[in-house]
Amino acid sequence: MPQLRDSRSRVSRSEAHPVDYSLRRIIGIETEYGISVTGAERDPDPGTVAMLMFRPVVAATRSTNTYVRNGSRLYIDVGSHPEYATAEARTPIDALRMDAAGELTMHRMAADAQTVLRREYGPHATVHVYKNNVDSAGHSFGCHENYLVRRDIPLDMLGREFVPFLVTRQLYAGAGTWDADGNFQLSQRADFLDDAISSATTRSRPMINTRDEALADSDDYRRLHVILGDSNRSQIATWMKVTTAHLVLCVIEYAVHHGMATGFEGMELADAGAAMRAVSRDRTGMAPLALAGGGTKCALEIQNTYLRVVDRFVREHGDDLALHMADAPECLELWAKALDAVHFDNLTELSTWVDWAAKLRFVDSLRIRHPDVSMAKIRQFDLDYHDVANGRLYDSLVSHGQLHKMLVDSDVEKATVTPPSDTRAALRGAFVAKALDTPNCTWSADWTHVAASVDDHAEAELLDPFRSAPTPEFQIVMAVLDAAR
């Protein structure tokens, strides 16, 4: 039986407290979007649609792989996926803003592409751009989270103490889906992941990818690449999955740096892949999961342990955390409520922000009004919920107050052109904005470099993701652009 919490932590600030840099983090979310067209007189292939979406990008940059004004990366990935990787954020709320800006960007690109498409494929051709993780044929694609951690955090420890958290967070972070037979799962990704932690990339789908590409000083950092998560439409779910993961990593890192135990010992799963699939099929959170050390715990017990430890950590280290994330207490509040709601099977409560619950509650209601609704229709609504181009269900749930948002629309609009102010993204964003507005300029950017050629050529390395102040090299690059304007 999961323990219920009755105390709520609050961050308090004391005076003259030294800053603990081991708790600061860079966070990013990469989202692959799926494409489909319905209502066309003949079927265009998805590659055609992706290229139509990227026409304005190609016109401006001569490439389908670029960075945009808010510092994020926008590109066409293998298999004609449009993909968007958020600019570096220090806080979960900034990561959410960047992610929401990505959705809006995709929405606009799809609307423009649809206008062009209709000239050739008929007036009813409709573009769908899905922020989900599985297609009708059972192909899976990902939503990858990136967390910068200090280099001294042992990977095997993350397998033991971080993976159990990731496997069981589906209870509130899962996007939910129905297969063709009508079986409902909390996670769209559970059936596509095997090893808990691995350096392999494509053949197997490990939950944490350790391909070592820190995109920062690799003597100090490694970039943890988490690939087991679902793509969320709910802004609160996106914020919650990133915030809880960040806080769990804070506990682990603090313990390693201070030679302490984390409190997550004993959570290690005997078979993370099997546990992932079991949790995904059990909305009660009570299915027993085999532990590596023997015995079993259910997902609710495991999540409640993480919550209890993080809650204590936030109370004890609020001073340090407040510097990096002032909204930790709100996350703990919602985390506890979500676990309680799972325990009490309170679908109505969960459905205000948990994607799988919002969809399931909607389908339950649909079945009451239309008892003969087909499985295909339910799967259509499942997809429609994730369609950022022409989907109706998500917007309807929001506009009728059934699903809560966290950001106001004008804030998301602003985030499409405004990078986070306190990371390297501020520099990249300023560079991209200036380069796009400089005629006859050739430029390139990636996560750690910017380069520009007009009359002169200059380039700068941006190795420190926490640095938003211009380096002398960066100023020279900007001066090259200024000289040509």
């Binding site: 506890a336 229709k377 309807s396």
Partner: protein
């Protein structure tokens, strides 16, 4: 961002109430049927009626995506 702050405040105030109601919740949930489930969802169902007219099989089967990751 007023909406952002508002939703957080909302979460906090509701938290206390939810704690108090917890013991009664199980019983209430068990006895709720259509009325609780569909509260607020009627308008959503009205909104999406036109989607019900589409050919669902065709819509779903059109989405086949390869590659990625």
């Amino acid at each position: 961002m007023p909406q952002e702050q508002e939703s957080r405040k909302h979460a906090i105030t509701e938290g206390t109430a939810a704690q108090e109601q917890k013991s009664e919740q199980k019983a209430t949930e068990a006895s709720t049927g259509y009325s609780d489930l569909a509260t607020g969802l009627d308008s959503v169902l009205d909104d999406i009626e036109s989607v019900l007219e589409d050919n669902a099989e065709e819509y779903v089967n059109h989405f086949v995506q390869k590659g990625g990751e």
